[in-house]
């Protein structure tokens, strides 16, 4: 990991100075937005295929089981192997992702046994995995990065503080031994603890001990004042590295196998017949999803992550009919959700207004005594922002939105009503009953609308030059006739469906 970070930094140094990079990354907002954005992009790409396969809730299953995987891997590494694993340790990530995939296989097996229905199998598996993980966390794990709160919401807000320091210039690592001139010594009792006596008791043995001996990295050495020239340092948040790698992997997977993923999602039988192994692709997808869920755990916890898989693709699904565009749009919505979500957590809604003002207003209006500063969870706010975008897409989508569907239906009804009038005129024009059926004054008798509505529609038809009035009788113009004929051809002569 450390070496890979070095590569990233070297690449970035082509464009920015070290100072700029450090300032940028030390802002909690920038780091949180980058990590949130990366999770959102990889989640949106994979979630799109999940949605189209009708497997959205599989991300729910995976995120719950991945938690158990992380906890178990964490415990194995600490207790059995005596390591101090980081959530960015590759072994932990691989182990936990494997647990996620294994459980997908297991739930598939359970409902194939036929004893329990699929929904019940999933409904039982989620909380069980989660329950075991929570019991383990609360009983057996004592670690700052692993408590119930972290499980719930993650620590994306403090991700900027957990860094690796990379030294670029004047990198002087310092080792202080008892012989070094900088070594400091203090007298310490060497057998007090063993014998359970105080330093003043009789029999206490003392020796001189070096209190600052050890190895100092350039950053530590500079902080301890051991160096004269300041080393050129870059502090790189660890979470960014892991999530960047996972996002690159996801991106590569989706880009390289785009054609294969599309085919096996749309028509698995044809994919199999053409030799594309849909089963292998299915499990490759599950592995990638598990990796993203593990990588996202530290930042957003194990429940909110499912929003990153489900909500942006659902929004894009409403907005477009093209798979490539759906992938791009859902990534953009996810990333925008991450960006504006940070602002929301700090009280600003899209920069339009402040939540604090709303709270103040509520207090004034209803005398509620609410606290008037809004400061909330970053990860949850990112999800809320995505939901807001989803909601906007649902209402406003030009093709499938609530608004456009409603308008279209209104329009259709109106159009249809006009056609009814035109057809009525067409049918009776020139017949014996013409005067009876088509008189301007009594025309409304023949329709289901009140006289005023009919009058208004007649006026509209007149102004559109579709009808004219002669001798108090309504007649079709040539345009009007054409309109009726087109309608008959296109709408009435439909293909009949043989059942």
């Amino acid at each position: 990991m450390f070496e890979i970070e070095g590569l990233f930094i070297k690449f970035l140094l082509n464009f920015f100075s070290n100072l700029e990079i450090n300032t940028f990354l030390r802002s909690p907002q920038n780091t949180a937005t980058i990590i949130g954005g990366l999770i959102a992009i990889s989640g949106a790409l994979l979630g799109t295929f999940l949605l189209l396969r009708g497997m959205s809730l599989t991300s729910d299953a995976i995120s719950h089981t991945v938690l158990l995987g992380i906890v178990v891997a964490f415990m194995v590494l600490t207790q059995l192997l005596g390591q101090e694993p980081d959530l960015s340790s590759p072994w932990l990530i691989i182990g936990a992702a494997a647990a996620g995939v294994a459980t997908v296989v297991l739930t598939e097996a359970i409902y194939r046994s036929g004893l329990v229905k699929q929904d019940a199998a999933l409904g039982l598996a989620f909380p069980l995995m989660f329950a075991i993980a929570v019991i383990l966390v609360s009983r057996f794990v004592q670690d700052v990065h692993m408590d119930e709160d972290a499980v719930m919401i993650g620590e994306i807000g403090v991700a900027w503080a957990d860094t690796n320091s990379h030294c670029l210039e004047n990198c002087e690592a310092v080792t202080i031994t008892p012989d070094s001139p900088e070594a400091e010594f203090s007298r310490q009792c060497t057998n007090c603890r063993e014998l359970g006596i105080g330093p003043r008791d009789e029999g206490a043995v003392f020796s001189e001990q070096c209190s600052n001996c050890g190895e100092y990295s350039p950053a530590q050495a500079w902080q301890a004042g051991l160096l004269e020239t300041e080393p050129l340092l870059i502090f790189w948040p660890k979470s960014i590295t892991v999530m960047t790698l996972i996002t690159l992997l996801t991106l590569a997977f989706v880009l390289v196998f785009f054609k294969e993923l599309k085919l096996s999602t749309f028509d698995p039988a044809l994919a199999a017949a053409l030799g594309f192994r849909p089963g292998v692709l299915h499990y490759a997808l599950m592995v990638t999803i598990s990796l993203v869920a593990v990588g996202a755990f530290e930042a957003v916890g194990s429940i909110l992550v499912i929003a990153f898989f489900i909500i942006p693709p659902a929004a894009a699904y409403i907005l477009t009919d093209n798979l490539s565009r759906m992938l791009v749009i859902s990534s953009l919505i996810g990333a925008a959700g991450a960006y504006f979500g940070y602002d929301l957590a700090r009280g600003s809604v899209l920069g339009l207004f402040q939540v604090d003002a709303v709270l103040r207003g509520l207090n004034r209006a209803f005398d509620l005594k609410l606290a008037e500063t809004w400061n909330s969870s970053i990860s949850a706010s990112m999800v809320l922002m995505m939901f807001l975008f989803f909601f906007a897409a649902w209402v406003l989508s030009p093709k499938y939105g609530l608004l456009s569907t409603w308008l279209r239906r209104q329009n259709q009804e109106k159009n249809f009503d006009i056609q009814v009038i035109l057809a009525h005129i067409f049918n009776h024009e020139g017949t014996d009953k013409e005067r009876e059926e088509l008189a301007v004054g009594t025309l409304y008798h023949h329709f289901r609308w009140p006289a005023s509505t009919t009058r208004r529609m007649i006026d509209q038809l007149l102004s559109n030059d579709l009808i004219y009035i002669k001798d108090g009788i309504v007649r079709l113009t040539s345009d009007g006739k054409e309109r009726v004929e087109v309608f008959r051809e296109t709408q009435l002569a439909r293909e009949t469906v043989i059942q």
């Binding site: 009708g54 004893l115 929904d119 609360s138 909110l304 606290a371 400061n375």
Partner: protein
């Protein structure tokens, strides 16, 4: 012997009695032998826990049977923002918190329905959207509440993982009151609920107001979820809801018995989970209840008579043994018949491909009866074998003819069981008629 009870009924009631007895014995055992002190607090917690377990177990049966388990999951997650808003408006008053939770859940359901009705988004995705965003709203509100200077929010986040120790006597009374009301409704409309659960279409055709009762039942399920939140928490509530029902389903095919069993399973896991976690405050209650309930499910799935995995395995082996010989003989005969000579040597790989591991048993039995013999790597029918196989084939043909002509010949109706000899099942006159047609067919 009790009159009017089938052996299956007796077994279920026996099981119910046994579990009740164990629970009753466990109380003095834990008190006097294990030294658990049932002080006032623990008693409250235990009673509250089992009451909630009973309510959610009973109503969970309907969620399981109506295949709404995942909906239950979405609903319980969706309750969280309601709890938070109710707290902001009215403080930590259980009644208000539950109303808030119920309203939020209900809004979630409506949103899911609206979404699936007006877009091409499918139900599972819609549930995922509501689950995640409602939950996020709840978390955001909780974070806001916890940032307040006065620490009056104590105990609110127990709604996430559940905390039995937070239940006080007033709460138990409220739970018991609402629980009694739901049970009353359930008994009152039992017939209707049963019908719409098993066959909504039929119920509608028979003039039952399906929508009304369906909504009522869903509402009761929401009530059960909301009540249970304090004990099991929003994330794990669905487990407490459905696990007792799933376990009970394995033991019986009757709704009454299933619901009774689920009540007992639910009460047991709720009570035990609450007691364990109350004794050790580090342990959230929700996970303990889920683990206990899941153990009940595992036990039920493995050992329940008829449906249980162990019984299924045993039955499969028995069936295999009983039918292996006949199946293999049939396979041999067909293969040989299709290859023009009954003395054809049939490769063993073909038999294995058809029947798998049962082939060995079958062949062994046939060899014992002297009906087949091994011939260089394959198997061949002996004279006795050909006779037996031909008899079987005739039997199959007779069954075919029975199916074809039972209406025209006005034959008595019998269940098709081709493994049995049709001559034993039909009266002689019917057999004669069929044999006559058989002669014509063969000629």
């Amino acid at each position: 012997m009790l009159p009017g009870f089938s052996p299956e009924d007796r077994r279920v009631w026996l099981l119910i009695g046994a579990i009740t007895l164990i629970t009753l014995l466990f109380l003095p055992y834990s008190q006097f032998v294990l030294g658990v002190r049932y002080d006032y607090t623990l008693r409250t917690v235990a009673i509250g826990g089992s009451l909630l377990g009973i309510i959610s177990g009973v109503l969970g049966c309907f969620a399981v049977l109506r295949q709404q388990s995942l909906m239950g999951d979405a609903l319980s997650h969706a309750a969280l923002p309601g709890v938070a808003i109710a707290f902001l408006l009215a403080g930590r008053e259980l009644g208000f918190l539950l109303i808030g939770a119920g309203v939020a859940s209900w809004l979630g359901v409506q949103f899911i329905r609206l979404l699936t009705d007006t877009t091409r988004i499918k139900q599972d995705t819609a549930m995922g959207i509501v689950l995640a965003s409602w939950f996020a709203a709840g978390i955001a509100l909780l974070a806001y509440i916890q940032a307040r200077p006065d620490a009056s929010q104590a105990g609110l986040d127990t709604f996430i993982f559940g905390q039995a120790a937070a239940i006080v006597e007033k709460d138990v009374r409220l739970i018991a009151g609402i629980g009694l009301a739901t049970m009353f409704l359930l008994v009152l409309f039992w017939k209707e609920f049963k019908l719409i659960t098993f066959d909504a279409e039929f119920a509608g055709a028979n003039g039952f107001r399906v929508n009304l009762f369906s909504t009522l039942l869903s509402t009761l399920i929401v009530v059960a979820i909301v009540l249970g939140l304090q004990l099991a928490g929003v994330i794990m509530m669905v487990g407490m809801l459905i696990a007792p029902g799933i376990a009970a389903r394995q033991w019986t095919n009757k709704l009454t018995q299933m619901v009774t069993l689920a009540a007992i399973f639910g009460g047991f896991s709720g009570g035990v989970g609450a007691i364990i976690s109350a004794l050790d405050t580090d342990l959230p209650t929700g996970p303990m209840i889920i683990v206990v309930a899941f153990l009940l499910v595992v036990i039920s799935i493995s050992i329940a008579p008829q449906r249980g995995l162990i019984w299924q395995l045993l039955r499969q082996r028995q069936d295999q043994k009983r039918f292996a010989a006949q199946m293999v003989l049939d396979d041999l005969f067909h293969y040989a018949y299709d290859h023009d000579s009954l003395s054809t040597v049939v490769p063993e790989s073909f038999l294995k491909g058809m029947r798998g591991s049962a082939v060995k048993q079958g062949l062994q039995q046939l060899v014992n009866k002297d009906q087949v013999q091994p011939v260089n790597g394959g198997w061949q029918l002996t004279e006795a074998g050909r006779q037996a196989a031909a008899d079987n084939a005739t039997n199959t043909l007779m069954w075919d003819l029975y199916r074809q002509y039972n209406q025209t010949l006005d034959l008595p109706l019998i269940a098709e069981d081709r493994q049995r000899d049709i001559r034993e099942l039909l009266p002689e006159t019917a057999i004669h008629k069929l044999e006559k047609i058989l002669q014509e067919e063969l000629a």
